[in-house]
C-alpha cells in the first residue's frame, strides 16, 4: 500500500503529493442495459478540482465508481499517480469517496465513523485519535465527535462523510453528488467550503453532479458527459461560453440556438434573419447552429455601432429580482434576453424593442 500511516502532516497545505488520473479507452456495459461508458479518454491533473457533469444516466456515476474500484471496466485502463489500478479492489486503492447518501455506519459514533478507514488500515490507536481530532478541527466538527450519526442534520452528515474520507489522506477524493440532499442555502455555503478545503489541501478532487451552476462555481475543469461519451472538457468559462455542440450548450442552460440556413459572404442566415459574425464563418461551416447567450442580447431603441440590429416584440416578461428575462419574438422566432435590473423602466409585454447583438458574441456550434 502506498499510503504511509505515519504521515503526520497537518491537513493544512499539501497533505501529500497529489495524484493525477489517466483514463484510457474505458468502456462499460451493464447486462441488458444500454452502454454506460463508451470509450472514455481523460486526464485529470494532480491537485485539480475536476467535475463530471451530465444528466442522469450519462455515465458520470459509473465513471466515478470505476475510479473508486466499486465497478470494473469491461475494457480500458485506469492509472492513478502513475500506477495502473484498473484491477485493484477498492480496499487496496488510495482513493476515498463521499457518497451521495453519506453512508455513515449507524452502529458507530461520529468519531468512530471518521476513524473507520484508519482502523482498517491498521493505524495505531494514538495516531488515529490525533488524526481524527485534527480533521475534526479542520472541518469544524469538534462538538459532534461523540454523537451518534442518527442525531446529525443533513449538513452535519455531509461534513462527517467528508472528514471520514479526508482523514485517510487519499491520493484522490471522489464526491458523488454530495450536496444534492441539502437545501439551497446550505448547499451554496458548502460549495464554497468544499472548494476552499480542496485548495488548502491541494488534493485531487473528482466531483460528480448534474447541476451546471454547482459545477461552474467549484471546478477548475469540467467534463460534460452524455450517453457514456465525454462531449467537452475545459475550464468553466470555456464550457459555458464556447460549448462544443448543442447538447453541451443546452445542458449549460443556453436556450438561444438557431439552425444555420445559409452562409453568404460575411453574412449568416438563420430564422432570426441575417447576422454578421466576427470572425466570419468559412463557407464550409454552413451546417450547425448558432448560439447567442441570453445575457449578450442588448435591448434599446437604437442599434449600437458595429452591432447586428433586429426588431422584436416583447411577448413575456419574467421578473427575477436581480435580472429580468424577456421572451422576444423576431420574425416569428423566439429569442430570450436577460437584462440586469438596473432600476430603469422595464419593457412591457407588446412593447416593440430594438435588439443589438455584437458579432463577436455569436458562436457557431455543431448540431
Amino acid at each position: 500500500m502506498t499510503v504511509s500511516p505515519t504521515a503526520s502532516t497537518a491537513p493544512e497545505g499539501a497533505v501529500r503529493e497529489a495524484s493525477s488520473i489517466t483514463l484510457d479507452g474505458l468502456r462499460k456495459r451493464f447486462d441488458g442495459d444500454a452502454i454506460a461508458l463508451d470509450g472514455v479518454d481523460l486526464t485529470i491533473h494532480a491537485g485539480e478540482f475536476f467535475t463530471l457533469l451530465g444528466p442522469s444516466g450519462c455515465g458520470k456515476t459509473t465513471l466515478l465508481r470505476i475510479l473508486a474500484g466499486l465497478e470494473a471496466p469491461d475494457d480500458g485502463t485506469l492509472t492513478i499517480g502513475g500506477r495502473d489500478v484498473t484491477t485493484t479492489p477498492p480496499h487496496l486503492r488510495s482513493v476515498n469517496t463521499v457518497f451521495q447518501s453519506y453512508a455513515l455506519f449507524p452502529h458507530l459514533s461520529v468519531s468512530e465513523n471518521i476513524a473507520f478507514g484508519l482502523r482498517m488500515k491498521g493505524v495505531p490507536v494514538d495516531e488515529r485519535r490525533a488524526r481524527v481530532d485534527r480533521i475534526a478541527e479542520f472541518i469544524k466538527l469538534g462538538a459532534l465527535l461523540e454523537r451518534g450519526v442518527n442525531q446529525l442534520s443533513g449538513g452535519q452528515r455531509q461534513r462527517v462523510a467528508l472528514a471520514r474520507a479526508l482523514v485517510c489522506e487519499p491520493d484522490v477524493l471522489l464526491l458523488d453528488e454530495p450536496l444534492s440532499a441539502l437545501d439551497a442555502g446550505l448547499r451554496t455555503q458548502l460549495q464554497v467550503e468544499l472548494q476552499r478545503t480542496q485548495k488548502r489541501l491541494g488534493m485531487t478532487f473528482v466531483f460528480v453532479t448534474h447541476d451546471q451552476d454547482e459545477a461552474m462555481v467549484m471546478s477548475d475543469r469540467i467534463a460534460v458527459l452524455d450517453n457514456g461519451v465525454i462531449q467537452q472538457v475545459g475550464p468553466p468559462h470555456e464550457v459555458y461560453e464556447r460549448p462544443i455542440n448543442a447538447f453541451v450548450a443546452k445542458f449549460m442552460g443556453h436556450v438561444n440556438l438557431f439552425a444555420i440556413e445559409a452562409v453568404d459572404a460575411d453574412r449568416v442566415t438563420t430564422g432570426l434573419g441575417e447576422l454578421v459574425m466576427d470572425p466570419p464563418l468559412e463557407k464550409s461551416g454552413h451546417s450547425g447552429v448558432l448560439l447567442i447567450r441570453q445575457e449578450v442580447v442588448e435591448l434599446g431603441h437604437a442599434v449600437s455601432e458595429g452591432y447586428n440590429g433586429l426588431e422584436g416584440v416583447v411577448k413575456e416578461r419574467h421578473y427575477r429580482g436581480s435580472r429580468i428575462e424577456y421572451r422576444l419574438e423576431i420574425n416569428g422566432v423566439t429569442l430570450m434576453a436577460t437584462a440586469a435590473n438596473l432600476g430603469q423602466r422595464l419593457y412591457a409585454v407588446d412593447d416593440r424593442v430594438t435588439v443589438s447583438i455584437h458579432p463577436e458574441d455569436i458562436v457557431r456550434l455543431n448540431a
Binding site: E71, A72, T87, P89, P90
Partner: protein, 307 residues
C-alpha cells in the same frame, strides 16, 4: 507495490463468481430444507399411493386403496366415519374462522383508533398468550370447562349440559379452543389494514353519503379486505390441520382430520391412509395460498404476509 495481490475476479460482476457466491451462501439452508422437508414430504405423498401392509407399513403395489378407505370403503362395507371427520374439519374451520372475524374486526378497529403509544402495548396484549405452548393453552381451557367449574355450572343451570357434566370434551370446546388459538392471527393483519386506512376517504364518504353504515360499507370495508383475506388464510389453513386442540378438548366424537392422520401413524397403523389424509391437508394448504394470491392480486395488496 506495482501489482495488486488481489485479482479482479471476485469483484467483477460476471456471472460465474456471483453465482458461486449465491450458492455458497444459500446452499446449506437449501440442502437442509430439501433433505429434511421436501424429501420427507415427497416420501409421504408416495406412501399415500401404496398399499397397507400387515403391520401398518406401506408396501407395493401402488394403488388408490387409501383414498377409497378415506372415502369410507373398508372391509366391512361403507361407513361414513372418515367422511364425517373430513366434513367436521371443514365445518369447525369455517365456524371458528367466522367467529374469529367477528371478534377481531371490531378489536382491530378499536386498537387502530387508540393513542399511538397504547397501540403497541395493546397488540402485545393480544399476541402474548399465543407465545405460550398450545398444549398449555388447551389445558387452560380444560381447567375452565371441566365438570364442577363455575362456567360448567352456569351451562348446567341453563340446561345446555346434563348434571355432573363438563363443557369439555365436546365440539363446542374445540370451536372455542380454535378461536382462542387463532384470534391473534386475525387481529394483526386486520390492524395493519386499519392503520393504513385512508381516513380522507371516510370523511369524503361521510360528506357524500352521510350515513355511517354506508360510509363504512363503501369507504372502510373495501380497504380492509386485503387484511381480512390474509387473516382468513392465516387462521383457516392451520385450523384445518389442527391436532392438539381436538385431541385434548374434543374427545372421540370431535375428531378432526389431523387426528385421523396422526392415529394412522400411531395406534391405527395404516400409513397409506394417514398419508392420504395428509395429502389432502397439503392440497388444501396450497389451494388456500393460491386463492389468496389470486384474490390478493385483484385487491392489489396480496404482498402482506404477517408473521
Amino acid at each position: 507495490m506495482a501489482d495488486s495481490p488481489y485479482p479482479l475476479a471476485p469483484y467483477s460482476h460476471s456471472l460465474s463468481p456471483d453465482t458461486r457466491h449465491l450458492l455458497w451462501s444459500v446452499a446449506p439452508g437449501v440442502v437442509w430444507i430439501v433433505i429434511f422437508l421436501v424429501l420427507p414430504s415427497l416420501y409421504l405423498i408416495s406412501v399415500a399411493f401404496m398399499t397397507n401392509g400387515p403391520y401398518g407399513q406401506p408396501q407395493m403395489p401402488l394403488s388408490l386403496a387409501s383414498f377409497r378407505q378415506l372415502a369410507g370403503f373398508g372391509f366391512l362395507g361403507w361407513s361414513p366415519g372418515n367422511l364425517y371427520t373430513l366434513l367436521r374439519s371443514l365445518w369447525q374451520t369455517l365456524v371458528a374462522t367466522g367467529l374469529v372475524v367477528l371478534i377481531a374486526y371490531p378489536i382491530a378497529y378499536h386498537i387502530s383508533t387508540c393513542r399511538r403509544q397504547w397501540r403497541a402495548i395493546m397488540l402485545l396484549a393480544v399476541v402474548v398468550p399465543s407465545w405460550t405452548n398450545q398444549v398449555i393453552r388447551a389445558f387452560g381451557w380444560m381447567n375452565l370447562l371441566s365438570p364442577g367449574t363455575p362456567i360448567s355450572q352456569v351451562a348446567q343451570f341453563f340446561g345446555f349440559i346434563g348434571p355432573n357434566m363438563g363443557l369439555y370434551p365436546s365440539n363446542f370446546a374445540v370451536t372455542l379452543g380454535l378461536m382462542y388459538n387463532f384470534l391473534p392471527f386475525m387481529v394483526l393483519p386486520l390492524y395493519a389494514a386499519f392503520e393504513k386506512l385512508d381516513t380522507g376517504l371516510v370523511e369524503a364518504a361521510r360528506d357524500l353519503y352521510a350515513s355511517p353504515l354506508r360510509a363504512f360499507w363503501h369507504a372502510v370495508f373495501p380497504q380492509t379486505l386485503p387484511g381480512l383475506l390474509a387473516g382468513t388464510v392465516l387462521v383457516s389453513i392451520p385450523a384445518f390441520g389442527m391436532y392438539v386442540i381436538p385431541e385434548l378438548l374434543g374427545g372421540g366424537r370431535a375428531m378432526m382430520l389431523g387426528n385421523l392422520v396422526a392415529s394412522q401413524f400411531s395406534g391405527g397403523s395404516n400409513w397409506p391412509l394417514g398419508a392420504a389424509g395428509a395429502l389432502i391437508m397439503l392440497l388444501a394448504t396450497l389451494g388456500g395460498l393460491y386463492a389468496m394470491r389470486k384474490v390478493g392480486k385483484r385487491l392489489g395488496g396480496g404482498e402482506e404476509v404477517v408473521i
